[in-house]
């Protein structure tokens, strides 16, 4: 198993956002995490990437303990995320955003950068080229020098995917990558996801767009009120009575 999460729990005051949640992700699969608003999907991502600390439970990547590491160490280990509301560097160009994404795969420090130590220029050039390649991969090749702030919402999401990819992750967590995308862009996104998966990166995606979930995912995990209520192939999940109940609500919906 590439990712193993065991007994993850996170409470906010009286609310248990993630409740004794366990999850496994196999190498090479695309796993979708779905659930009504407030089900704990984003909190789960925060716990996996150390943007938030669990009250209980642990996370292993390829057998290595991630629990307790700071976020940047988790990126170094090969677990990278995107955000539900994109967190791009708006004042920087698309290419620069992706180049920042390569931070953990490049070495130049402050002193070396200041004096242009031998090797710095070569690393910089390689970083630029790799950024260009990744931008082309997600279909942003023609907007490499555009400031991130000037991109459309759909393209911002793709840029964030390219930035995450730049860290050469083994596992990528995408938080609602299709939100705000039109149908053409969503189709492009699913192509991009397959391309990333085929290049060897495992993907966990939180998504509300059921069309996309059904198309791309090998497995679906359904959360409701912080608990896992179902897990399985997309076709079966669609018919699961507990899932249908969670989505249709039982009179006291939390959305």
């Amino acid at each position: 198993m590439l990712l193993v999460a065991e007994g993850l729990t996170r409470r906010f005051g009286g609310l248990t956002a993630v409740d004794d949640l366990s999850m496994r992700v196999a190498q090479g699969e695309i796993k979708a995490v779905i659930g009504p608003n407030g089900a704990g999907k984003s909190t789960l991502f925060n716990l996996l990437t150390a943007f938030d600390r669990p009250d209980a439970g642990r996370v292993l990547l390829d057998g290595e303990e991630l629990t307790g590491l700071p976020p940047h160490r988790i990126v170094e280990k090969g677990l990278v995320r995107t955000f539900q509301n994109t967190r791009l560097f708006d004042s920087m160009t698309a290419r620069e955003n992706v180049m920042v994404g390569r931070y953990t795969r490049t070495r130049t420090g402050m002193l070396a950068a200041a004096v242009r130590w031998p090797g710095v220029t070569a690393e910089e050039r390689a970083c630029r080229e790799e950024a260009g390649r990744l931008l082309r991969l997600v279909g942003l090749g023609d907007q490499a020098e555009t400031p991130a702030a000037d991109l459309t919402q759909g393209r911002r999401r793709l840029l964030e995917v390219a930035r995450a990819l730049a860290a050469e992750p083994r596992l990528m967590l995408l938080d609602e990558p299709a939100a705000g995308l039109n149908s053409v862009e969503t189709a492009e996104l699913s192509d991009v996801l397959f391309r990333i998966r085929d290049a060897g990166t495992t993907i966990v995606v939180v998504e509300h767009d059921m069309g996309l979930v059904m198309e791309v995912s090998d497995e679906v995990v359904v959360l409701d009120r912080g608990r896992k209520i179902a897990e399985g192939p997309p076709r079966l999940i669609q018919k699961d009575p507990a899932v249908i109940a969670a989505y249709l609500g039982e009179g006291e919906d939390d959305d």
């Binding site: 996170r10 906010f12 956002a17 704990g40 999907k41 984003s42 909190t43 925060n46 990437t49 943007f51 938030d52 700071p70 976020p71 940047h72 990126v75 170094e76 990278v80 995320r81 995107t82 955000f83 539900q84 967190r87 791009l88 560097f89 708006d90 004042s91 920087m92 620069e96 180049m99 920042v100 994404g101 931070y103 953990t104 490049t106 070495r107 130049t108 420090g109 402050m110 950068a113 200041a114 004096v115 242009r116 710095v120 690393e123 910089e124 970083c127 020098e145 400031p147 702030a149 930035r163 995450a164 730049a166 860290a167």
Partner: protein, 350 residues
């Protein structure tokens, strides 16, 4: 196809022209007073370049930078005068001590944001201001230290204004080159990234806390270097040069110049330093007028800040960019200007 783009040829030409102009200036200006003012511009520019890296690029404010400037000045004078070291040890020691002081302040405070960081650095500045007055054995107390020796390189004593001018501006040139390399590279991008979105930077694997501490120490070290040059150039130092007013002035210089620009930092330093000497800024200005400007100086600083914040959020550098057209960035494209983004809460959890 040409190897170099038109823009980069123009840029190279402009930079060469500025370097040559700065270098030959002492040959064209006979007036010692004017030359001294330009030297002071260079010294203040060093502080402002460091502060531009910290505030303009990384988005971390400091209202205590004059303290590092002072630390550099006192440490340098102590090393040369009391410890009997040759001059060049002065600036080196100043950089070392100011950098360490910056580290000591940054490690506990860099987790603070926006207003809280402003208050913490302001508090540090005030503590140091008191220390400069009270540590009489080293600082000479409120009366300060006078008769500080000139810089010496071997047996060459840099007595004249032109020599000091060249020394200071050579240092500025080297620092600008190094800082320019820095901002256009991996660590420089990391600073801009954490300014734009701290959680985005974290998600890219940047150790945000460490990067902030490093840039704070770096900018403190540059202020220390400037303090050392200042002490040996001006020959007299006292606590009044290293207080809150100077700290605020340095921030104003960064803001006026443009948050995300090193050249702007130098320009901001030049304009606001010369405002103290209106006769140099506008030669031929009648005495009465220049006296009024001098009297109203703090108000002019304040109004300049307000004006820039309201109408030129990207500072003079941003104005320059939008006049040239350049890379099609909008006025506020360079770097977010107000403190708002620095304090904007980034939600944890969902």
């Amino acid at each position: 196809m040409a190897r170099y783009s038109r823009a980069s040829v123009l840029r190279f030409g402009a930079v060469t022209a500025v370097v040559v102009a700065v270098a030959v200036l002492p040959l064209l200006i006979a007036d010692r007073y004017t030359l001294k003012v330009f030297t002071l511009v260079g010294i203040q520019a060093l502080v402002v370049i460091g502060l531009a890296l910290l505030f303009g690029y990384a988005g971390q404010i400091s209202l205590g930078h004059a303290a590092f400037y002072g630390i550099g000045a006192y440490v340098s004078v102590w090393l040369v005068r009391s410890a009997g070291m040759p001059w060049f040890v002065g600036p080196l020691g100043a950089v070392a001590v100011a950098t360490v002081a910056g580290l000591i302040l940054a490690i506990p405070t860099m987790r603070l944001k926006g207003h809280y960081l402003a208050m913490a650095t302001l508090g540090f500045g005030e503590i140091m201001a008191v220390l400069f007055v009270e540590a009489k054995a080293v600082t000479g107390g409120p009366d300060g230290l006078s008769g500080i020796s000139f810089p010496t390189i071997g047996s060459w004593v840099l007595r004249g204004p032109a020599e000091n001018y060249w020394l200071v501006w050579a240092v500025v040139g080297v620092v600008l080159l190094l800082a320019g390399n820095l901002v256009r590279s991996r660590p420089g991008r990391a600073l801009r990234a954490l300014h734009a979105s701290e959680s985005g930077a974290r998600a890219c694997g940047i150790d945000v806390g460490r990067a902030k501490i490093a840039v704070f120490a770096l900018s403190a070290g540059l202020a220390g270097l400037a303090g050392s040059l200042y002490a040996h150039f001006i020959g007299f130092i006292s606590p009044s040069s290293f207080g809150l007013q100077a700290s605020v002035l340095f921030v104003a210089m960064v803001v006026l110049g443009g948050m995300g620009s090193l050249g702007g930092a130098v320009l901001g330093a030049a304009l606001l330093t010369m405002l103290e000497f209106p006769g140099v800024l506008l030669p031929g200005l009648p005495r009465q007028v220049s006296d009024i400007v001098t009297d109203w100086q703090p108000d002019i600083y304040g109004l300049t800040l307000i004006f820039v914040m309201l109408f030129l959020p990207a500072g003079l550098a941003g104005l320059g960019r939008s006049l040239v057209g350049g890379r099609g960035r909008r006025g506020d494209g360079g770097a977010p200007a107000s403190g708002a983004d620095v304090v904007a809460p980034e939600g944890k959890g969902a």
